[in-house]
Amino acid sequence: MQPLAYCYLFKYIIIGDTGVGKSCLLLQFTDKRFQPVHDLTIGIEIWDTAGQEAFRSITRSYYRGAAGALLVYDITRRETFDHVSVWLEEARQFANPKTVVMLIGNKADLESRREVTTEEGRQFALEHGLVFTETSAKTAKNVEEAFVGTANAIYTAVLEGALDLKKETCGVRLGSLYGGYRQTDPALQSTRDPLYVRYRDCC
């Protein structure tokens, strides 16, 4: 175990309807090594909300202080896409206005059962100023890109000064250059504790 040097710690939240594969995405991602972005080591702390969708009032707290939100729907279930606007409204209401939201159409490996076209997803993202991609937690397609893409967008916001690092609620914390320590590798440190990741047979 070695102390990890990283410059930034980004806080993410994963949201979306029940069963769209939020935990699977997270698992798939944390199984891989996280590529440093811009030669900087960026750690991420991920808050998974899977299974807690019914407890809206208390879980709202997750939004506060999130730098990035991955809004996931299932391309094989139209209704999960229909609810995206509700999730977005909630995120906009309770998160920092600067929170980077990435729209993710998951289960892209199930092409034959597709109910939401890529174009629809892209269009929605365009209209609402979101980053968009389609992923497959099963084949790992685009999973890393989704997390890294969001990290890039946040990092850009930091560079442009759009995120005020002095504010706790911006979701970005300075890392070990300022005395922080991590004991695992950067991808995993987010999940200091299984509280942040869930191991379930959902895939």
């Binding site: 009032s57 208390i58 997750y62 914390r173 300022y178 004991q183 504790d193 299984p194 379930r200 047979d201």
Partner: protein, 499 residues
Amino acid sequence: MECNEYDSGSDCYEEIGVNGSDRPNVLRPSVLDLPGSGIHRTLWSQVPQVMSSGILDELSVAQQKLQEAKFELVTSEASYFKSLTVLEKHFASSPSMKDENVLPKMDYKILFSNVAPVRKCSEMVLAALDKCWQDSIMLDGICRTIYQLSQQNFNVYIKYCTNQVLIESTLKRLRQNSPNFAEALSTLEKSKKCQSLSLYSFLLLPMQRITRMPLLLDAIRNKLEPDTSEYDSCTLALAQLHKIAHECDEAARKAERFEEMAVLSRALNYPVGLRPLPLLSASRWLERSGQVTHINMEAKLTFSRKLTSRNIKLTLFLFTDYLIIAKKKEDNYSVVDYCPRNLVQVSKMDDAISSRFLIVLTMLENHEGKTQEMMLCCGSDSSRERWLQTFASPYSSNSEETLYADWDCPQVAATHAYSPAQPDELALQHGDVVNVLRKLSDGWYYGERIRDGERGWFPGNYTTEIASMHVRAKNLKLRYRLLALSGDYLQQLKNKNNS
């Protein structure tokens, strides 16, 4: 030292937690000493004692998965407990946080007063889980253990979650307004013990744990054979945990509403001459608010009132039992009028000329006891529909049944005592007053007994309706309808004569 009772003295658990592995004749490490957490948490199948027991060769893949699911309940509790210990020992007990110049006593209480009970509870759970683990390498009876614990001890979570909204707003305020606090906190957060997580992350742990528990139990249940006693106890535990998590959520919602009402009541200003409405009450909350345009026009409404001033933007606040109409002034609102909700009537109005989304809102008794009509324009068709929907009284699709809202229900008083024949019935003593929420055509009523809030069915002929706001509102509505009818009639006559 052995602990067999879950609710025995707390010192006992302190020892298990700390010295568990020092106990003689114990082959397995205490759950707190299992190495690793995070993504590399220990798997059951990787514990040396499990590996050397030879048990792994006898288990099917499915059985092993079940073991891992059970074990996760244990390891996650251990990791949670360790984090709570950081919260209590490193943050809550630190000299800087206890310094009143850094953190005033009231704020300390909000942030930390519920931490110790929650940690105590986790300690108790952990001790019980550890015993389970020491007794049985297969973790037999773990679901029953959780069920028993949750029945008695998990109310601390409800208390904790009630406070969560307040914790958030307090922390935010302190960070912004108190440089002393911000500096002390930043020093504490830099400690290695926090693994660079913020105090906020730690303060959310109990909420995360209580909503995660049902998921962990569900994962176990999915892997158990149905119709076994273990399956049954798992189902019980799951139901119990779900109930508690829901109660936590409900408590947080209530607290949030109350906070929202407090903020709102500060933002509402009453001009001289308008009697302020005491807004704060545990049973009142905001159901919908939004801006509409008040249309002043020459056209005649029911009472042929002429209005000449220009159109103005108004904000409607519809509470559970009141409507407040106000004008927005920067961050505040200046109240224009208000009316009890059961004395408000709204209807859609067609606008043939410019197809605006109009409604007519009538206050049968406004703040000065007068009937007041207003024509309002909503921003869109859907906004209008949603306003009409929110204002509407409940409506049953069953023609044999009449429904009433809390804010507009008949009241009855019992004229005879009634003893329930079924568990869903309400006992009545002579003189009991009941708010009626449903009436069936066969004479059965469903209602809430005022003295204690108990709800149930009772025969309507054991009671008699009494004078209430509902009766008054009904009479006022009837009078208004008759007036409107005669107004229309007179108008028609007039038109006829003119033409």
